[in-house]
Amino acid sequence: MSRTVDLEADVQDVLVSEDQIQAKVADLGRRISEDYAGRQLTLVSVLKGSLPFMADLMRSITIPVRIDLMEVSSYGGASTESSGLVRILKDLSASIEGDDVLIVEDIIDTGLTLNYLLRYLRGKNPASLRICTLLDKPARRLVEIPVDYIGFTIPDQFVVGYGLDYGEIYRNLRFVGVLRPEVYTAGE
């Protein structure tokens, strides 16, 4: 990397502040705890972007909950050229058959990855399969997917922070912000 990265300076606007995130996560945790009371809930987090959201959300849920992690390759990633098909880089570590499963996502835009995951996880025969996302960017939607829990609906801007990256950085920002366009156009 040729330039020095100043994480916060590269952010044009703070779209969702740390306080807003924490308040929303607490609210989502309360709702999920109520909705799944008495059921066997498994949270499935989709790495890497949803990691901070998962960590905060699971601690705001007050009922017994199991967690599991998945990671799938993204188009344009290192594995794209070799196969041309999405790869499951990290699969579930335990069966979810008969469980109530809640997929925890950082952001839903095109819906392509989630559409793939839904089809994959349905094949594991969970009792139910629902979706919780911190951010929803409906303007980018290609595959319409019903989302059960949405933190924030955001405009059509490229965002980083709170798990979301550009070039694998900015994930550790404590808020969600709009990345300055010059950051990603600098190399063009």
Binding site: G84, L112, N115, Y120, T185
Partner: protein
Amino acid sequence: MTDRDGALDTPGAREEDRPDSPALSAPPAFAHASEAEMSRILDFYGVRWEYEPHTFPILWNLEGTVVESFTPDFYLPDLDLYLEMTTLRQKLVRKKNRKLRRLRALYPDIRIKLFYARDFRALMLKYGKLALADALSGTSGQVVPTHGSDDPSTPTEPASSPLAPAPGGSTLARRRTHRRRRSSAPAAATAQAAAQ
């Protein structure tokens, strides 16, 4: 595509577990490189697609002959969704927007999404391929025309009737034509509405 079996060698990704993958066949002759890129993205995520499978008449002359039609770039059968890529100049985008409005008015049950240049750019940014976006946008992304025109900026619509097969067996000849659900509205009224 030849590495499909290799893609299954990931932990837990047994063949019976994988969502259905698109049928493996030779890719069609895309009119624009951005369309080819989109087909690769859809393939990657296991979304089945057909390239320009349907042509919708959208304008008739007084004799009832089709004088204008619209052929969306992709049809995604599992989603029942048409996808139209519009990465060309603004003048052509306006023309395509007009045709799209007309299509929606005549075929209200059809679900179609228009993918503008900015949408394609955002997609490429998301996938870390922004440099590719500029290369594949506008006329620079145009590949060998397959619609009977040497001018890449020429709208890809038939010169006469969309029902007529194109010479040389182009993609146009393979299209099926959907019939409009309207049956008896006067052709003159249709033509007038389209002219507005």
